[in-house]
Symmetry: C2
Subunit: 407 residues, 2 copies
């Protein structure tokens, strides 16, 4: 896709956008200052929802966001009326400092559930973050770092896309999360800004399309957080319209897909305790929905994830996970292959098992399973449905991180 060019520098590629990050111990605050941007978001479908999710949902009714406040260390979830008051306090702090209308400030939180926000320390870190607002790559990196919790590395992506009209716009984003992994700490938060001109309803559409094939296709442990948020703003600085005659430019959509998939893959790669990255590609499913079920089921199987950790090319667990996913499957014609950067080997070809003991197939498979990046390729021969999902292995460290977290 030569109309998409990956850029360095995260948010710094977008004009008239200032961001910052500051941290004190486990509490971090990132600010995204994007005056008068159209905006839309996708939130967790968990019925238990953190105060900032409800708060920001309300802000977005107007469809304009001028700044985003994000804190890590406390999820402000299950915190009752005080939780909403704390949202207001923090939004007022930002509104006053940046001289913005209160109703254009979104707020987002990640961290422990069920503890009141330590408002003093978070306010202090917020002021520090606000004092550091800037438009350099370092500012973007600081913002990506301040929202981290159990993440082991900051996650940014920026692209320039040449639209069908030949005009260029940019999209940049940061994310945190180790998959939808830890309601207490591992919430997925993503913030994306484009300099294109696009109404909030169209952002919603484009973002949903991208999220369905990116953020919604990563699984670390299947737990869905109370705070998951993906918020996208368009500050229009390029002056370039993304929607013509009611249609979202398809190159823009591809670029947004690219960016979201890149951020999603980084989250899967950073799954708690992960030592290996797994990609599951399913083609030939009855339809895309079936393909998604199958791909996600493979990535979600604790048994297969444990086998990957142990380097065991256990295709029985793959086929079983597809079998209970709910998708259509004819085991007599399915092909199952695994691959890394160097080799791809069929374990089962059109229903016939190749990877028996003492076969060269199994030997090659065992070598592939030693790689850090493992692809599972499934061909179902039932239709044109396809999907890709990303995940990681299940390790001792996953258990350790989550057994010891709040104690």
């Amino acid at each position: 896709m030569n109309f998409i060019k990956e850029l360095d520098g995260g948010f710094s590629v977008i004009e008239n956008l200032k961001v910052s990050g500051a941290r004190e111990g486990k509490y971090g605050v990132s600010i995204i200052f994007c005056p008068n941007s159209t905006a839309s978001a996708i939130f967790t479908s968990n019925k238990v929802v953190a105060a900032p999710v409800d708060y920001t949902r309300n802000v977005l009714k107007k469809g304009i966001v001028s700044a985003v406040f994000v804190n890590s260390g406390n999820a402000n979830c299950f915190t009752g009326k005080q939780g909403f008051k704390d949202c207001e306090t923090l939004v007022e702090l930002v509104a006053k400092d940046l001289k913005l209308p209160k109703d254009e400030i979104a707020i987002s939180s990640t961290g422990v559930i069920g503890r009141e926000m330590p408002i003093d320390i978070i306010s202090k870190v917020a002021y520090e973050s606000l004092s550091k607002l800037g438009s350099n790559p370092e500012n973007s990196l600081a913002a990506a770092k301040a929202i981290m919790t159990t993440d082991t590395f900051p996650k940014e992506c920026a692209v320039e896309v040449t639209l069908k009209t030949g005009e260029k716009v940019k999209i940049a984003g940061i994310t945190k999360g180790s998959g939808m992994i830890a309601p207490n700490m591992g919430t997925m938060l993503s913030f994306i800004v484009t300099d294109g001109v696009i109404a909030s309803e169209d952002i919603k559409k484009a973002l949903k399309t991208s999220a369905d094939i990116s953020f919604n296709m990563i699984v670390v442990d299947g737990d869905e957080s109370t705070n998951d948020t993906c918020l996208m703003m368009a500050n229009g600085q390029s002056g370039v319209d993304i929607v013509r005659d009611g249609e979202i430019d398809s190159n823009f959509q591809e670029a947004l897909n690219y960016l979201c998939i890149d951020l999603a893959r980084k989250m899967a790669r950073d799954g708690e305790g992960a030592t290996k990255f797994i990609e599951a590609n399913v083609v030939g499913a009855r339809d895309d929905e079936d393909a998604r079920l199958a791909a996600k089921s493979i990535i979600s199987s604790n048994l297969f994830k444990s086998a990957v950790f142990g380097g065991d090319p256990n295709w029985g667990r793959i086929v079983s996970a597809i079998g209970y996913s709910g998708c259509d499957l004819n085991p007599d014609i399915v092909t199952i292959a695994i691959a890394d950067g160097e080799d791809e080997v069929n374990l089962v070809k059109k229903g016939e098992i190749l990877a028996f003991e003492d076969t060269p197939y199994l030997k090659r498979a065992e070598k592939i399973m030693q790689s850090k990046n493992i692809r599972v390729n499934i061909e179902m021969y039932l239709g044109n449905g396809e999907a890709t999902a990303w995940g990681c292995d299940l390790t001792y460290d996953y258990v350790k991180i989550n057994a010891e977290y709040t104690t």
Copy 2:
């Protein structure tokens, strides 16, 4: 329920029933010799189904089972036409030895997927098992042991039930499995025999009712096997009718529930690598189906299971798991308590958090979390739905067992 009396001795409590078990290394064979019994079964809903499941489904069309052959060590799954031939070979072996019609012999397997049955060794163990058929408690225990794979202890249960009519019948069963945990090795197999008189269609009904609140409510890792089988026979030796005027005796149903729940709990307790047993009770849900969703979601959450392993009373993970389960939930009125044999403490009461840091509630909760048996009690205040699910903690050993299994 004083109409149910638990008995010792497993299958030995049933008249005219002979069972046996033999083992050589990882291969075991159990035989249940129950001439001319009515029978029905529940099988895995996985779309990848082992040969013996298809084979036995066919046998059950007639509704009469006179013997059951069960082997451990090889699942005979994904083994193509050879798999069916192997079923026939083993059934013929049993038919000849016991002088039974071939079409009254059910077969069931558990073990590795995708490897042909080592028919020589399994035949050898089968002959050994057949030579040991008997009706003593030791025979029942041997049968329960021979079907074990990663199980750490054999699982039997037997009850006597006084029906509404005052007549008495007995039910006995064995099971293996560490939850629906390991398609390669941890299949759930259950075999139940009653001496009551009951048609195969009614067995089906009664068994479904019991399975829905027992075997279907245990989760170790959420993986569903290709071989899961629960097969029930009635040899009618008591001469007592269980169905009158088209109704299954409600005391019999209660007793079958009791037996299935006992066997299911034993499986959950023996979850691979488990150090702690978890029971989740949900009451006040909108309906039973909602309660089941909530209870199973708690038991299935890797995050909560890891927290239990770590002894962390992390109720945020409980409420989050309920939140994404799909059930109706009002977090503002929910009550969440944990309990062991000695104490029960509310963590959240009608939406109000009690277990803050440095409270006596949290201290008591931390003590409870050290127990080997932990109950989570949820009251939703939305309706009359209730359900109980059983599971275990997620431990280093779970990962170890499943990372190292076939290699």
